[in-house]
Every structure is written in C-alpha cells, then in structure tokens.
Symmetry: C2
Subunit: 213 residues, 2 copies
Amino acid sequence: MTRYLEDTATERLEADEREGLYGPLAEAVRALVDASIRTEVDDHVIRQATADLERIAGHLRAHQLPGSYGVHSEAPGRRRTWGSPVIGVRNPIAPPLTLQHAPDGLVWSEFRVGTAYEGPPGRLHGGMAALILDHVLGEAVSASGHWGLTGTLTLRYRRGTPLGRLRTEARIDRVEGRKAYVVGSIADDEGITVEAEAIFILPKGYVHPDATA
Amino acid sequence: MTRYLEDTATERLEADEREGLYGPLAEAVRALVDASIRTEVDDHVIRQATADLERIAGHLRAHQLPGSYGVHSEAPGRRRTWGSPVIGVRNPIAPPLTLQHAPDGLVWSEFRVGTAYEGPPGRLHGGMAALILDHVLGEAVSASGHWGLTGTLTLRYRRGTPLGRLRTEARIDRVEGRKAYVVGSIADDEGITVEAEAIFILPKGYVHPDATA
C-alpha cells in the first residue's frame, strides 16, 4: 500500500474528464465479462461477436502503454489507482469498489458482485473475498497515515457469502514498530460472512510518514 | 470445493465443441480487459469502441442465463468450472489457470498474469495471489478425494511477486476428522514469493466420499 498525494484543482478537473472517458469503456467491458459467462445466443452470433471484439481490441491496442499500468502510466493522484483489480475504474475485473472513509479511520464500501465472482453456486468465490479484503485492509493502513506491504493475511469464512449487494469494512487495530495490525470483514444483509486480519510491514529503509488520521 | 463427475465420451465431444466456441469469446474479452487499462488511443476512438462494445453486449445478452452461471447453467462434468474466476474458460476475469495433477496428489499450474492483476507497480496484487491460492488449495483437497468449504486461509507474503510467468502448487498435508489441512505457494523463476495454508471443513450432515487419490 502506498498513500497517494492529493490532486490539485487542475488535476481534479482533468481526472474527472478522463474518468468520464475511460469509465464507460471499462463498464462496457464489464458487461461483456458477464455476458461471456451467461450468454446462450446462437453459435453464429457468438462467432460474429468474437470477431467484432477482436477487431475493436485491435483498435484500442494501436496505441497503448508498453507494459503494465502501474509501471508505465506515471499517473498523478487518484489516477494511480485506476488500474486496480479492486477499485480501478479502468479495470473491468474490478467490481469496482468505491471506498468511503469515516472520521474515526474506518474504511468501508458497499458494492455488488455478479456471476464473474462466483465460487460455489450463487456464492462469492472465497478467493474473491480475499482479494477484496486484502485491498480494503491495506487502505485502512494507508488511511491511518501509515503504509506497508502485506506481510500476512488471514481469512476466516463463517458462512457462504451470497452474490449481490455486500458491504466491506476495515480498521487499523494497532501499530507496533514497523508492523500495522488491521482487521476487517465482508457482510451481507444478515451480518458478517468473512473476517480478515492482516499485518502490513514497512520495508526496511523506509520511515513512517506523519499520521494524518 | 466439490468433486465433479467425469464426463462421458459424448459429453466430452460436446464439451470440446462448446469450449471451442466460448473460449475464443472469453479470450477476446480478456484482450479488451487489458486494452481498457492500457489504451492511449484518441478520445473519439475510445468513444466509438465503447458504443460498439455496448451494442455487442446487447446482442450477447438477448438470450442468457437468468442468473449466475453456477446456479442456472446445470452444466455437467467439467463445464461446471467454466464460470470460475480462476480456471473458467468462459470467465474473462480468470487468467485462466490450467490445473495439472501429479500422481502424488500435487496440484500445480504455470500461468501468466498481466496488468489487470497488478497491485504495486509491476507486481501481482496480494489479493490476486490469495484468489489463486484459495482456488488451487481447494483443488488439492478435492484431488485427494475429500472436499469441504474454506474455513480459514492464511497467506504469507515473502516478497513481491512479479507480473508475467508464474507457477502455483498445492498439496494436502493431513486430514483430521472433518478438517483437511492443505498448503501451497506461488513462485517466480527465483523461488517462492507467497505461501498459503488453509483448512477446508466438511459441512455437518455430509460424509467424505471414498478417497480416489
């Protein structure tokens, strides 16, 4: 986890404009992810769609970052997270989550997941719960003014998590030296389904920035 | 994790044919997932692509499963896994992994991950490592002739995992009553980057099927 600098006013305006362009593209691809799994249209429609999608991908790839987003985009401020598989508005794998920050340091989000995230029938894949929780727990560390890399992550699955509308939250528990201890959960309307705890470790050679929470 | 029945010869032939239709569709959408994050083409090309993709999604959705794949597809044999976010040939979120089974019960896979799976710049998102390991560990339980639902999953991140070519493996450690203990890892060319251990628990009311490994 890294803590990102705030955008300037000019950067905010430009980021809004870029998000209005890239967000709908990713959303259209998200719809295709879902359709790829669920479609039952005739074979010739699927073959035509496949050919059309390959052609469009070619157009989009005519000019692109030479490697991964994080390495090559050099994006300022909030755009640094646009490639994220959890919160990235440019990443169709991401639901995406919109993270909320409470004054007491709690980080939370309400979000929806569909068939692309399915493990057991009708249930969220346990590994997808882990993906979401790893990210939200890291954000809670960042929100506390600390940062670090995930050292250990432990998930306890209380019961199956249904697909649909869910809530996740995380908060920092304590900081001991270079280690930040953080806890969180995923819940449906009836309560917690998955609990998580993690230790984020500040790599040697780094110092904690000033706490801002 | 559930253990799936083998396909009959007729089902295998039909499954091959269906995979040859749906696989390329998902692969085309995977290319679009990557392009959505990395594209730098002009705004008007992105707007046109977005409109075209929305139209194609509409065609694919004209006739589709009414809900999630696992609940509604009633797919026999190996097709049950086609919606999986880790190994699903119909799920563009999945890399997808092709799982290999060694005679001693080891389950392993070599696979590639790109920018859609990125956390820190150039590195696999820690939660994506968790997603992959949860799935492969569950498969190792299944391959041993047991099954169960993930009870706890613990990940230890030794160092950053680079994007690109990776290997994962898992094996069952022991079974105690209703609990199966399983361990696994993700590695790059220089060795293990993430270790995992999990306990899969057979729900009450179920009995272990005969071990087949």
